[in-house]
Symmetry: C2
Subunit: 131 residues, 2 copies
DNA sequence: ACTGAGGGTGAGAACCGATTTCACTCCGTA
DNA sequence: TACGGAGTGAAATCGGTTCTCACCCTCAGT
């Protein structure tokens, strides 16, 4: 599954494995990834995990998501763009199937004279359990 | 202009004045707000500014915006919802006229069984100057 | 006026995630 | 073997945010 990325240092590969293991809805923080990575590679340091995430993000293999109102960023495997929902009650983060239409993005970029490379859509509110 | 909020402690009022002074495109960080507030009220402390922003956010008078990839949150007067654009080159933040259509939000909320209270849309890329 | 309670306030410490530093290891090549 | 560059772990550091705590100010009830 992670075979799409070549020539990765072993620890970075471990990080990638952990993120992909969690899947698109995983929403792992760097801390959580570190904990899981240590199960595979007990001597791995937090700094290495962090560097790995940065590298993998640059390579486009993982997405870094800054959820509005959340202290720490979460990571998940690169996948089709989608929005996120954060419950203000329990703090849970879930995926929503939404992306700003490509045509709209293009028109916005043109109108404001900018080049848009990425979008982040976050909704907040109450989930079913927290009513 | 800040007359819509009543019964505010004096320092919080100062904070509100600063934010509204900067206007919708101000995008001030808490630090910047503190600096400007001291021009009006030299003895005001940072903690007070921060508490004021929290209070004003609860009251709905100011918006707190967590820009993706930005270290600190920025604040601006409550206004019609709009998206933000952050240039990865110079770090500038600007407003874009976009909001997720209300009908779409409603449909998403219904489909996933959640109550959506707020949305945050952030684009990142390169501004005209940073090409 | 006096008094007690409660909110507001300033300074600085504490906190926490993210990032950097630094010395060390590993592995390839010459 | 000697060298150099990348990778690595532990710990220090950073920066924004939040908390603590002692003080002050206002105001209601006397």
């Amino acid at each position: 599954m992670s075979s799409t990325v070549q020539g990765l240092p072993p620890n970075y590969r471990t990080v990638l494995d952990v993120v992909e293991e969690a899947g698109p809805g995983g929403h792992l923080t760097a801390q959580e990834i570190w904990v899981r990575a240590r199960a595979l590679q007990p001597r791995i340091g937090f700094a290495t995990v962090h560097r790995g995430l940065i590298r993998l993000h640059e390579l486009g293999a993982v997405m870094k998501i800054d959820v509005s109102g959340e202290a720490s960023a979460v990571y998940e495997p690169a996948a089709s763009p989608h929005a996120h929902f954060r419950c203000t009650g329990c703090g849970a983060i879930s995926d929503l199937e939404y992306a700003v239409p490509a045509q709209t993005v293009r028109r916005l970029a043109e109108r404001h004279g900018v080049a848009i490379e990425r979008e982040a859509v976050t909704f907040t509110g109450r989930c079913a359990n927290c009513g």
